[in-house]
């Protein structure tokens, strides 16, 4: 864990800066959207968190794969460390989205595909964490959660399409989609980018810190086990 020590404070600082700049910029210095009014400001929290919620899970899948193939302990612990962060991001996305729904759709919650698929993602996070908590032996837990994570991803994707099939919804199109006509003007664009950067960095920093914690906790466990037999 050598290299992470110096990186940790910097990434936190950078994340903080980006978030403050992006959010302040977005909140105070952007005009209201002509049709969404002031609620467009929610986008600066909503989109980044939503994106990172998904990316956190993807990162967990990758880490799980590394663990299963290379049996590299740190990656397993990193996956474990990332889960709670992913949960919080998912919650933020759900919450801001829900609140956004009030002015947009006149309801705090609508069973709209993307909302719903995030709800499902949330459930997957819950199950994943619960499984980690439930198993005594850390290596067994790592193996089992890895398998769950991979199988779960497949079903998460399936669910996403199922949900579309179930209810063709009223959600916004993708912001960052590279389609020709910019569907969101630069005024909103740049602060949004800064916020996204901020969330990415925050995620990175948090996972670093939590992984270090997990490693240390595991080391304590090992040392105590050894001490017990001495």
């Amino acid at each position: 864990m050598g290299w992470t020590r110096p990186v940790l404070p910097w990434s936190f600082a950078l994340a903080g800066v980006c978030l403050v700049v992006g959010l302040v910029w977005g909140f105070f210095f952007t005009p209201d959207d002509f049709r969404q009014g002031s609620t467009v400001k929610i986008i600066y929290l909503h989109v980044p968190s939503a994106l990172m919620a998904i990316n956190a899970w993807i990162m967990m899948v990758v880490a799980s794969l590394i663990w299963v193939i290379r049996r590299h302990h740190v990656s397993a612990l990193a996956a474990r460390a990332a889960a709670p962060v992913g949960v919080v991001f998912t919650l933020i996305a759900l919450f801001t989205g829900g609140i956004w729904g009030q002015p947009m759709w006149g309801t705090y919650w609508a069973w709209e595909p993307r909302l719903t698929s995030f709800l499902i993602l949330f459930l997957f996070y819950l199950g994943y964490i619960a499984l980690w908590e439930a198993i005594e032996d850390p290596d067994t837990a790592a193996d089992l959660t890895s398998v769950l994570c991979m199988v779960g991803s497949v079903f998460a994707i399936l669910s996403r399409y199922a949900v579309w099939f179930w209810n063709q919804g009223l959600h916004q199109g993708a912001t960052l989609s590279l389609d020709k006509e910019e569907n969101i003007s630069d005024v909103f664009w740049f602060p949004l980018l800064v916020c996204i950067a901020g969330f990415v960095l925050l995620f990175f920093a948090l996972v670093l810190m939590r992984t270090r914690t997990e490693i240390r906790a595991r080391r304590i466990r090992a040392l105590q086990a050894r001490a017990r037999r001495a």
Binding site: H73, D137, R218, R221, A222, A225, R226, A230
Partner: protein, 204 residues
Amino acid sequence: MLRVRNLGCARGGVPVLTDVSFEVAAGQAIILRGPNGVGKTTLLRTLAGLQPPIEGEIDFPEEEGAYASHADGIKTALTVTENLKFWADVHGAALPATILETFDLSDLRDRLGGTLSAGQKRRLGLARLGVIGRKVLFLDEPTVSLDRFSVKLFADWLQDTHLAAGGVAVIATHIDLGLAAPELDLTPFKSAADANGGSDEAFL
């Protein structure tokens, strides 16, 4: 028939035994001794392939090992015969005609597993070994709660049937089976407190 070289095994991520080596020739048995908690069960589970060793090698003919412990897979809702029949089928073997006599289960033939006394259950568990026809047996305290007579019964079966047919047995027990077999005390192989290996090694 069974050769173990510099075997090390761990339990709960902690190395328990290191550098265990022994050989058992066909028709031979070996008895594992050692105080409670020295690692007999762990060693047997490792030999049987239920858990991976942390070092060293184990070799015996493929598909010939069988592990038996307190939990001997008896279905309380199946009769004695049904229990045995099932294991015979799984191993693609036929039920030896004499097996019930050998383990003194004839009168209990149609009893449900759940209605057996501790020792009767144990006998049923041991009879399983006579059914599956595996050559290399790993037995963890096979005679728990057996009376003297049954212990003798079991020892005789092992001697005259299993070993006589060129089988091998590794037995962990605290009592005297009255079996002419070399003993291996595991105490000297106990891992040092700072021994490495085990899943925690990466963190030490």
